[in-house]
Symmetry: C2
C-alpha cells in the first residue's frame, strides 16, 4: 500500500509543490507498477480530503523530478484522475482537483468511504448494527406534531409567505429561533441576526465563501465533514490538538477557529472554564470563533454549558440545526454571525439558492411556538439517556479495559482502546462481526491513540448491548 | 454621473488591469472630487454585476497611472469600498470585491433595486396592483393536495428517507421527474441524471461554480436574476441579442450560452426552428447550452415546443423548477446536465448544502405519481389563460398603440411602447398610479426600444383590466 506521510501543505490559489504534497515511498511501488502506485497515492490524498477541490497539482515535470520517475508516469497518473472525474486539465492552468472520489454521507457511500480507508467491509447486508455517530433515532420523528403544524400553517399561509422570500429566512422562524436559542443556549441575537440555512453544512459553506482569512484552526480530532466542507471553499483547515479540557487554545496561530465547545466532536469533552476564558480573550483581539453547536440540546446529566456566542456576539459565528433533534434529512439550520459579516453572508446565501424553502421554515416556527419542539426534545432526551446507559453498562461488562469518554451529552460516545492496535483494524473487525463504528483516526488529522466512536441514539437498548457484546468478542477484554 | 463604458474584461484568478476595467471620463470628475468620482464608478460597476465577487482590483499604482490621478486617490477609493463592505484587502492579494451593494429580489429589495435604477417609487402602500413578472397565483397553491400527499409520505416514510440522503435528491423524486419531463418536455434522462436543487437559481449557481469557461453568452434582453447569479460565481455574462426568432445564434462567440428557448424571458418569443437547428449545430462542436425552461409548462394556444435537451443531451444542461407552477417559496427545482459534468455538479451540491430537504421532495414525488401535480397545472393553466385574455382585451382598449408580445405562454407579456419615452420613466409613472411593472430596460444589457413587462398570473381579470385602464391613463393611447 502506498503511504501518504508527513504534513500536507497545500497553498490555495497556486499549484502545490511536489515535496509538500506526497511523501511516497518508492520502495512500495514496483509490485503494481509506478503509474498505479502514484495514482493510488493521489487518489488516497483526495479521498482523505488532504488534496481539496480547486487545488492545482504540481507541474508534471516537477513532480517527476521530485519522485525520481519519468514524466510519463506522472502524466499518465494525472490522466487517470481526469478519466475518473477527479481532476481536470485546464489550458494554461495545469491539472486541478475537481472532485473527491465519491460523494460522502449517503448510506451506500458510508461504506465506500470506509473502502477508501482500505477497510474491506463485508457486504452491506452483513452489517446489522449501525452505530455510526451523528444520526438520531429517526423512528422518533414527530410525524403527528409535524403534520398538525403543517396543516395549521397551510390554513393561515399568505401569498407573500410563498413568494420569493427574504434570503435570510421567514421572519416568523427567525423570531422563534432567536427566542429559543436565547432561552436554551444563552445566545444573544435579534431575529434579523439569524440566517436560516440548509444545516450546519451550509453555514460552513457560507462562512468558507466569505471568510477574510484562508487559514482556519480546526479541532484534531474533529469533524471530518466540517473540515471537508470548508476545504471545498478554499479555506485551509489546520489541526489544533484537543485534550481533556477541549481545544488547546494556547496552540492557536490562526485568526479563526471552528470548534464544538459544548460537546467536542468526537471526544465529547466540554471546553473547560479556563480554556473558555482564554478562547474569548483570544477572540477579543479581532479573531473569529465558529461555534458548531451541533448536539448541545442533548445533555443528560446537568444543564448544558451556555453557547460561547452569548459571551462574545461580535466574535462568534454560531451554527446549529435540527439534524440531531428531528432528522438530518430536514436540512434546516441557523447561522448567527457578528453583524459586520451579515451583509456578505446574506449575499452568499442569496446567490447560492435565494433562501431556504418556506413551508418547512413555517412548520418549524410553529413547532417552536406551540412547545411541540420542546416536548419532542424531552421525549428523545429521555430515550437517548436510557440507550446511553444501556451501552455504558454493556461496555463495562464486555470491554472493561476500554476508557469511555464524552458520555454527558450528545448522540455518541468514544471508547479509547487499551492496546496499540490501529483503530481502523479494530473497526474492520467490528464490521466483520456486523457492527459499524467509526475509527477515531478517521476524524484525526495527525496520528494518535486508537479509539472507536459509537453512536447510540438510533438503536434500542437490547441492540446496543448486543453490539457491545460483539465488540468484546472480536477485541477481547 | 460617472460613466462606465466599453467592454469589461475581467480575468478570473488574476487581478484585472486598469485599462480593461473602467473607462472613466476624467471630464466628469472635478465637481465631486476625484475620490468620490472613482468610488462611484467602482461601486456602479459592482452594482451592475460587471465587477463580480472575487475579482481582484488592479494594483493601486497601476490604476493611478492609467487614470492619471495620484495613487492616494485610488487608495482612498479602495478604502471607501472596504468601509462599505464591498471589498476586502487581503495581505499579499490586493483588494478584492467581496459583495454587491445590496441583496436583491426580496419583496423589500425589489423596491431598493428599482431605487438603484433611479426610480423614485411611491411608498409601498401606494402600489395596489403588483404586475411584477414571474410570480404565479399563490392563492392557487394546492394546499389540500399537498397536505394529503404529505400525510401519505409521513405514513410510509422510513428512517433512511430522513437521514443524510443522496446529494442529488431522493430516488423517488428523481425517478418521477425523469418520467414527467420525458412526457411533457421531451427530456431524455435516467433518474440518476436528475439533480434536485433549490430552484433554477441554485442550478445556475452550481453551473457557475463548475463551468470550464468563464465567458458565457446570455440573452439581451434577458433575465437579470440569472445574469447576477452567474456573475456572483465568477462567470462573465456577455450579451447576445434577441430578435423575433429568439437568440441571434450567429452572434455567439462564447463556448456556453444560457437561454430560455421555449418562451424567451422577457420578450416571450419562441426560438425559431432555423435558429434551433443552428444552435444545436453550434453546441455539437463541444459547446454547452444552459436551457432555462422556467415556464414552458404554461402554454395556452398550442403544445409547447419540446426542450432542446431532448435533441442534444450531451450538450445541454437543462434546468426547471416548481416556482411558476406551485410557488417560488418552495425552492425546489431540477438540473439535468451532460453526464460528464455530473460528478462535479454533485460534489458542488454536496459541498453547498449536502442536498435538498427530504420531505418536500417526497411530497412532490407523490404529487407527480398521483397525477395531482398535473391536475393542478391544468387548473392554473385555464385560470391563467382567462387572465391573459382579460389583460389582452383591456390593453387593446386602453393602450391600442402598444405592440403586445409573448402571449402564447408563460405568466407575463411584454408591451413595446409606441413613443421613445424611456421605459424607466413609464414604469415610474405607472408606479405613481399604483401599478408596479418592470421596465424592459431593467432586463437589458445594451440599450433598446422602450417596453414594459406585465405579469398577469397573480391578479384576477377585473384587477388586470383596472391596471390596463390606469396604464392607459398615465401613458395616453
Amino acid at each position: 500500500m502506498v503511504r501518504v506521510e508527513g504534513p500536507i501543505r497545500v497553498r490555495p490559489g497556486g499549484p502545490i509543490s511536489g515535496s509538500d504534497f506526497l511523501q511516497l515511498r518508492p520502495g512500495d511501488a514496483p509490485a503494481k507498477g509506478l503509474t498505479t502506485w502514484l495514482t493510488d497515492g493521489l487518489r488516497a490524498a483526495v479521498a482523505a480530503g488532504r488534496l481539496t477541490t480547486g487545488t492545482r497539482l504540481p507541474p508534471t515535470r516537477l513532480l517527476a523530478a521530485e519522485l525520481d520517475v519519468s514524466r510519463g508516469v506522472v502524466v499518465d497518473a494525472y490522466q487517470r484522475l481526469i478519466d475518473e472525474g477527479l481532476a481536470a486539465a485546464r489550458t494554461g492552468a495545469g491539472t486541478t482537483i475537481i472532485a473527491r472520489p465519491q460523494v460522502r454521507d449517503t448510506p451506500s457511500d458510508r461504506r465506500r468511504s470506509l473502502d477508501t480507508l482500505r477497510l474491506p467491509l463485508p457486504p452491506a447486508d452483513g452489517i446489522d448494527l449501525d452505530l455510526s455517530p451523528g444520526v438520531p433515532d429517526l423512528s422518533a420523528f414527530p410525524r403527528t406534531a409535524w403534520l398538525r403544524a403543517e396543516r395549521a400553517v397551510l390554513d393561515e399561509i399568505t401569498a407573500a409567505d410563498l413568494g420569493y422570500g427574504d434570503p435570510g429566512g421567514t421572519p416568523r422562524l427567525r423570531a422563534e429561533l432567536a427566542g429559543w436559542l436565547a432561552r436554551t443556549r444563552g445566545v444573544r441575537a435579534e431575529p434579523d441576526d439569524v440566517i436560516v440555512v440548509n444545516g450546519v453544512a451550509q453555514a460552513l459553506a457560507l462562512l468558507g465563501q466569505t471568510l477574510r482569512t484562508r487559514r482556519i484552526a480546526v479541532e484534531d480530532p474533529g469533524s471530518r465533514g466540517a473540515r471537508d466542507q470548508l476545504a471545498h471553499w478554499g479555506v485551509r483547515p489546520e489541526p489544533v490538538p484537543v485534550d481533556a479540557e477541549g481545544l488547546v487554545v494556547g496552540a492557536l496561530t490562526q485568526d479563526a477557529a471552528v470548534l464544538t465547545p459544548a460537546h467536542q466532536f468526537p471526544t465529547g469533552v466540554v471546553l473547560g472554564p479556563a480554556r473558555r476564558r482564554a478562547l474569548l480573550s483570544w477572540a477579543a483581539e479581532g479573531r473569529l470563533i465558529i461555534e458548531d453547536d451541533y448536539d448541545a440540546e442533548h445533555r443528560y446529566d446537568r444543564a448544558p454549558v451556555a453557547a460561547l456566542q452569548g459571551s462574545a456576539p461580535d466574535h462568534v459565528a454560531y451554527a446549529g440545526s435540527v439534524s440531531k433533534s428531528l432528522a438530518p434529512g430536514m436540512r434546516l439550520g441557523w447561522l448567527i454571525a457578528p453583524r459586520r459579516m451579515q451583509p456578505e453572508l446574506l449575499a452568499a446565501k442569496h446567490d447560492s439558492d435565494l433562501g431556504n424553502p418556506a413551508l418547512p421554515q413555517l412548520v418549524l416556527a410553529r413547532l417552536l411556538a406551540t412547545g411541540d419542539y420542546e416536548r419532542h426534545l424531552r421525549t428523545v432526551r429521555t430515550r437517548q439517556r436510557r440507550r446511553r446507559d444501556a451501552l455504558l453498562g454493556a461496555l463495562a461488562r464486555h470491554l472493561p479495559r476500554a476508557r469511555v469518554m464524552g458520555v454527558a451529552a450528545g448522540l455518541h460516545l468514544l471508547i479509547m482502546m487499551a492496546g496499540d492496535e490501529p483503530d481502523i483494524a479494530l473497526a474492520q473487525r467490528a464490521a466483520a462481526a456486523g457492527v459499524l463504528v467509526h475509527p477515531l483516526s478517521w476524524h484525526r488529522m495527525t496520528p494518535g491513540p486508537p479509539g472507536l466512536i459509537l453512536g447510540y441514539a438510533a438503536n434500542p437498548p437490547d441492540r446496543l448491548a448486543e453490539a457491545a457484546r460483539r465488540l468484546g468478542q472480536v477485541m477481547g477484554p
